[in-house]
């Protein structure tokens, strides 16, 4: 076989290998660079809870035409948990919210839900909430800067938000993030 033509026929392969090797090096360099963790931080941390009236639910989870009163929790650490019966991750976090409610009071805010469904949800998974507020329009969630349900906030003695967790409150998060905050604030 003619060597000259062999070199010619190998040339595309050689050039291609060159490009691949350099691209590989570039990618390797890119991978070494640390990537920033994408954390959902809330604008509200360190600020007072949003000044918006929340309708309180009665025992049948209907609107009882009373506003939810946060005064009761003055000088106390408490939690606010946004939930809905249609939200599957809320079922996942239910037992952990139950645990949380044994340490500090938890206020539940039910997001865009039907009273009957909420009632059934609380009957099935237990009712950990000290009080329940209703957010049928989604307005309260917007004021609180809620990304989605479930979402949990911790509010300190001065009525300031000190912690926010978007997504289900899983056990490891509860243990590693929520418990230390509660301890240091007690």
């Amino acid at each position: 076989m003619n060597t000259k033509s062999l070199v010619l026929r190998l040339l595309p392969l050689i050039l291609f290998s060159f490009i691949i090797i350099v691209s590989g090096l570039v990618l390797y360099e890119l991978k070494k660079k640390p990537t920033k963790k994408n954390l959902l931080t809330s604008q509200l941390i360190g600020k007072k809870i949003p000044d918006i009236k929340i309708q309180e639910a009665d025992n049948n989870l209907e609107n009882n035409n009373k506003n939810l009163n946060f005064k009761k929790y003055k000088n106390k650490l408490f939690a606010v948990n946004f939930f809905a019966s249609w939200c599957a991750p809320c079922r996942v976090e239910a037992p952990i919210v139950e645990d949380l409610s044994k340490i500090i009071p938890v206020i539940g805010i039910v997001y865009k839900d039907k009273p009957n469904n909420t009632k059934k949800f609380l009957d099935d998974f237990g009712n950990p909430y000290d009080k329940i507020g209703i957010d049928n329009s989604g307005k309260i969630a917007i004021e609180w800067g809620v990304y989605g349900v479930p979402e949990t906030f911790l509010i300190n003695e001065e009525g300031k938000i000190i912690y926010r967790h978007a997504g289900p409150l899983l056990y490891n998060i509860f243990k590693s993030e929520v418990l230390p905050i509660i301890k240091s604030n007690k």
């Binding site: 595309p12 392969l13 990618l27 991978k31 289900p168």
Partner: protein, 650 residues
Amino acid sequence: MIPEIGHIFLILAFVSSIMQITYWTYNTKNLNLLALDILKNGVLINCLFILISFSILTYSFVVSDFSLLIVSNNSHSLKPMLYKISGTWGNHEGSLLLWVLILSSFTFWVSKKKQINNNLLFSILGVQTLILCLFLAFILFTSNPFERVETIALEGRGLNPLLQDPGLAFHPPMLYIGYVGLSVSFSFAVGALITGKINKEWAQQIRPWISISWSALTLGIALGSWWAYYELGWGGWWFWDPVENASFMPWLIATALLHSIRILEKRLIFVNWCILLSILGFSFSLLGTFIVRSGLLTSVHSFATDPSRGVFILIIMIISIGGPLILYALKSSIFKEPKVQFNLLSKESALLINNLFFTTATATVLIGTLYPLFLDALSGAKISIGPAYYNATFAPIMTPIILLMAIAPFLNWGKGKSKNLLKIIALLTLTSLIAAFSLSTINGSSIFAIICGTLSFWLFVGVISDFFVKIKETKLKITKMGSIFLYISKIGIGMNVAHLGVAIFLAGITGEQFFKTEFSGRKNIGDTFYIEDKLLEFKNFQTLKGPNYQSEMATFTLYQNNKFIGYLKPEKRFYPTEQSQTTEAAILTGFWGDTYVVLGDGDNQSGWSIRAYFNPLVSWIWSGAFFMALGGLLSFFEHKNITKKNIRLT
């Protein structure tokens, strides 16, 4: 539940493609008709499964199912329906799903072609399915569009407002048809290497696929450029941005291939060269995907910056390009070419020179695109290779191509003497000299403006004369509708239309690049200013509410020679969901040029900063591209009619 069905069908398509590849490898040596039929059915199944999966993803976007990660990241319930649908491919994962959908549809289309030789078809379907399988793996393992979120978002984050635009809704699908269409010619080439056979029929059968993907690429690139022109508000239409180059390189290679395949079809020479170009065409499509999707770039185009995706695409490239190149090195010597002689002044040499210049141009763009990326990653040095580099390298390469383009159609094949050649060259030179002289009398024209404009004219005269010569020579009469197409294919009008497109395009460039006038300054309500002979009056300023944005809009009245021409309403839009702002340039398009106004920052006291341009002939750029694409499509139909010999002239 519904998205999971989509996910399952995607997995099923992946599994079925693996089974087909195994079956294919097992049966390549002893092919029988049954094996081919099984593979054909497999191709249909893949296509259907992916279609179901894609429809389900589109459905999730339409109903705004925010439990899907990509829907909540790229859609919003208040978005207009068109952008909900186009949001499906306005993101990394969805666009890859569109990619495989188009790939499997093309494969299915090829499998329906009866005239392709069984051995070749078997190899083509196998190679296509292998590529499909690699991409399905890429989607499933690194970019799953059906990924759910833990927290169901109450609202989506919206689609990047810049992408909420009709021009851009169809830009990716068009480009993908182009990219993926090149995979068919790629598979033809690999098929030829596997079967070891190549003939004129092969060239005839591969050509329509090149034509159609070339046309789609042309349209896709033009749509993107048009969008950049009116949406980004920079006043330009091509920026030599790496992502633009990524789509431009396959186009250049496809252009070269489109021409060289003509020689192969006619004379059966340059076999290896055509095979190599076919492989390269799709390789550049993949390279484009790699550059855009690997996170090497940060620009408006980069949706994903995940290096692990880059690694995966690199592996896909190694398998699907490295493999064929090894095959090429090993087997390309088996193709025996007939000894054909041709003159220096012949169609063969003209097409050869065309190929030489087009591949050189591709290499120029490749270096300009990759070099800064590599340099940045390896040494941290940031350099920018901009228009200056391309004006100095790319433009000189294109000049001889244009000169040749006008003459080449008059040249004869092989040793034949070209008639009328001297006459044509004399005509072209004379008319071009007149054009150059008239251009030089225009105010503000530079030497480059004269060259560019004259080239456009040179080509225009060449194309038109060729067209009339052909009509005279064909001596056909149109009596039936069906015979119109035959007439067109006899003449080969596709080539004329495409070349005419290039002439129009060049005229557009001449106007836009060299005769543009610009105004920039602060103006308040009631002020007036001139660009060229046009008077603009700042009439009023208002704030408006759109469906998913707030807008600040200024109104200008345009007068020419004291006559009212129209209103221009540049806007600045603010999208609260996406927390971002877009500039909507106001453009009054005319045959001879566009008046283009962009609104900047400002207030009632100090006025608003205004940029205004008059861009002569700018719309010719896209009209030219449209003609090129049309030409490509016409030559696709030419082929159809040549193969259907049953239509007779009456």
